[in-house]
Symmetry: D2
Subunit: 244 residues, 4 copies
């Protein structure tokens, strides 16, 4: 979200991190965070599946015996190996339930949204939205957590719908507001807000000139895997909620 | 392979083509090729599964009733929509047995090989190799045809192996030679050569300074889907064939 | 568990039920239970995923507009169609996340355990155990609930282990006891007991002459689908817990 | 087809065989056939994928170093373990591309068709048909060969259709005739006939009192896996071919 020189290490793979980058520290992996030695300060949003895993009584916790793990690979190797469009490394197998592409950078993400926005009408409820995926499955980045980035085009006001699943938003770019169960919530870059399960919601880009981008972290993979996903469009008032 | 202004249309999706781009015209799709009106001449290599489909007695052929199809989408829309690393368009489903990413361009392919080569030891038999994949499945681009691009690093001489499946090579970059069942075949950019099923083969980059890239079209998806793939390393002479 | 003349209707498919039969009423299906008109009384154990679905805030409830649904198929048709070993009905597709074989009868279940017990050493922790499966996937009968039947051979005393997931047992046949986190629980036919997540447990058949059978309902499908399943053998004391 | 005392051994698993039983000797397994020592003579139909595998240049052949393999399991163990409707052995994994249920007996097959026929209208083209499946996948018994058994009810005359794929029939029960590309072929128990790819065909049970059963071996798994399956109903003359 802020700062420079940040890095994360996951099972010996070190990744440098910039603003709006998305990095995975999946269930069961050794992971640690840090900043380069020059004294910079970084802020990030940490999204966890701990409430869910605790509810399932399946949580385990362990501190690395050496406190820090050794870095055993080239920096950013997992993104360089797995993050190539339409190409997979020959002969590399990946059997874990989470994505081998541990880091998803902001620049190619915004570039992807821009390219895609030029050839789609978008979703009436979400504008131009892309899901972060495990490239091995085209499924979610983790089994318990999903993530997406959506672009609200200049002036866009999406229609309201509701669905099962709990959604946490982080404003990656721009400003605007969302209407959640009839109540308006204004937001700007780096704000965080949430939409609970089955709450009506619609999003509004506050600018007529610039796009706005919302990062979202959710439990949609759980809902889908277990057949619990349901969705409903708001049928009245042209699809827009009256503000309470 | 050569020229400019080429395009291909597949089921109403138009794609511009440059040198070393890889474009799909899958089984059962309307497809046509052309060049822009300025009189340029283009050459391409066409790889077909017709011998196999004929052997299965499952071939169908039909001419479009209007001779040409209407273009119904933005140019290059399928690559802009599906060709984004680690991101999938939300809510778009794709049920066909072939890749929705109809075109794989040379520049991002070479960029991917370069990035991957920096963090892998590569394969002893194939150097730094990536498979073109259907982004929805991470599987082959078509059910009957697979494709890959491999980089032989400066001075690289791979070890010999053999496997089931029939392989057609097109030299995308550089020059060198391959030894196939003990016989040497020299190649340079735009040459085409083949390795039959179960033939021993090894590849040599002729340059100590530049990398060489081999595009390959093969029936590996058939071999894998039907459990017929087998592979064997050449065990003697340090893994290199004596030249006959 | 007891009585005769019981039946269940699921989405228009009527099933007759006998003792120890296992019937599904999956999430999202119309379902109702009854007994034939002759006045018999039946008892059954009802196993629900409601705590989990409520925790996910994804519960929906609806009463059938006609109070009762029409039976639109031959009685027991789903078991007759889908419950045939090694054979699937040609051209019938099934896309739901739950098994089309709505009823699993006791007689073929016990017969299966008997046949299987003759050619397996069994599991050190569970004796001769089989999972009820969706024949279309060989996976769980429902996405949120799994079920199994296990046979403890005469005199069998299994070794202790623990695993994530919550397990409800119903004693289908015989008598004996289980040791759960060091405490002994005696059981006989039709008793119900449970093993919480990560609790050590071992089972003992109390008879040296007859087998005992335990039906189990669990959330193993959730654990597996989300990568949360873990298992550990009790390493000390020859694999048996000291009784507290 | 005829005789008694036959057996087949596949990778150390011995199976006794009776009339109309279906046994697998998959690609890549050690297999041998025999009869018990009492001097009986048996006949069977052997269906092979050799023409296909040869065309793919992927055939391998090897004689067992001991000429005969040791039997290492209980007789018929694979059918006793895997051939139980709606139940799978807990903790047994199976990773091969072919069915672990090496033998499919006639009695439960005919019983399944009888049960299924009581609750289906059947297919207009095939009567009451069931596919032999790998219980682990509900897919074909082998990747290159599929098999089915179909019941023509008393007096049944199916409508004509054609599809890609090559089909070999063995008459398991009853008598009648089939019309293939306008030509009539009479058949009775133990006859063998074939339907080539894309040939029109319809089947007629010659009896008004008894059902007739046709076993079929085909390359449908190849057609499906590679997206080459197509089907067309005969549109004229009420769906019946004129006999040439």
């Amino acid at each position: 979200m802020e700062g420079s020189g940040a890095y994360t290490v996951v099972d010996g793979h070190k990744m440098t991190l910039g603003a709006n980058d998305f990095v995975l520290t999946p269930n069961g992996t050794w992971h640690e965070h840090g900043v380069s030695a020059d004294g910079s300060t970084c802020l990030w949003q940490d999204g966890l599946d701990i409430p869910f895993v605790n509810a399932m009584e399946a949580n385990f916790y362990e501190v690395h015996p050496d406190m820090n793990q050794a870095v055993g690979h080239e920096v950013n190797d997992m993104t360089r190996t797995w993050g190539n469009p339409g190409l997979t490394p020959y002969g590399e197998s990946w059997k874990h339930g989470y994505s081998p592409m541990f880091k998803y950078e902001w620049a190619p993400t915004y570039d992807a949204l821009t390219k895609y926005s030029g050839c789609t009408a978008g979703s009436p409820f979400d504008g131009v939205m892309m899901e972060y995926v495990n490239p091995v499955t085209n499924g979610p980045v983790m089994r318990t957590l999903g993530a997406s980035m959506q672009m609200l085009r200049p002036g866009e006001h999406t229609k309201a719908h509701r669905h099962t699943g709990s959604y946490l938003y982080h404003v990656a770019k721009g400003s605007g507001h969302s209407i959640i169960d009839g109540k308006r919530f204004d937001w700007q870059e780096r704000d965080i807000f949430c939409v609970p399960s089955w709450a009506w919601h619609e999003h509004v880009n506050g600018s007529d000139r610039d796009d706005a981008c919302l990062f979202c972290l959710n439990d949609l993979p759980v809902m889908r895997a277990l057949g619990l996903y349901r969705e409903q469009a708001f049928g009245e008032n042209g699809g827009f909620q009256p503000i309470l």
